[in-house]
Symmetry: C2
Subunit: 126 residues, 2 copies
Amino acid sequence: MALFHPTPEQFAIENVLTALGNPTRLAVVRDLSDDGEHPCGSLVRGVAKSTMTHHWRVLREAGVIRQDPSGREVMLTLRRKELDARFPGLLDAVLLAAAEAADACAEAQAAAAAETAAVLPVAAPA
Amino acid sequence: MALFHPTPEQFAIENVLTALGNPTRLAVVRDLSDDGEHPCGSLVRGVAKSTMTHHWRVLREAGVIRQDPSGREVMLTLRRKELDARFPGLLDAVLLAAAEAADACAEAQAAAAAETAAVLPVAAPA
DNA sequence: CAAATTGTTCGAACGTTCACGAACGGTCGT
DNA sequence: ACGACCGTTCGTGAACGTTCGAACAATTTG
């Protein structure tokens, strides 16, 4: 009873876009974008295991990730080559956009931290 | 009470992906990709008006389209430049993928039609 | 002014998605 | 064999998305 993986011909653009259109899943794909193999457990983000299982399934059934058991873990990989062949440029554009969004978020946090430091100079580092 | 349009800084990648991850909306964006101005009514696809209003709102609030009243119509335009500036390559990749999907669909229909013609030669044209 | 046209708003219905905890089934170490 | 570990499955509930029809507002046409 192996996990279902669509073939590239079965990829549907709307499924891929829907899969990537969720912050949790997009963050996972971003973590996977180094093209390494990651166990499920190394990408959990503040939600229950069963919730992540749901997200893995959405990503897998859209063709975005591969998920294959290895021992007692399940290894995740981004299906980058197949995705690129089927939807050229899409994954790169999404990853670029996601990186930009993450940067903007980091900058906003840094700005907020700087403002806090200015308002509360007592807490400012030497 | 003009319709709300986000500024490019307000665009969020997850909103854009979610907006494009629906077949009806993706078809609308495809129709809009000639960069012309189209009235709402020229892009209706077999669903109720109120349903299309919903889809237009989703696309507009994600920053994908601009929607401005002109007379008793509402003209739609793709916000291609702003989208490209914010998420480089994304729209092109999605449109390319959508075109490929549409082609595959057309081929499938053609193949089905050919098969029907073979099975029912009586209905075949001279 | 009255009627037709265009699209929006509203409320309701229906299905799907997202989230959780509990229970389960493999796999590894002891 | 036993227990710990990893992830899935199941059932549940809240939230969301999609669809519709009816009613509405604005505008053009007769």
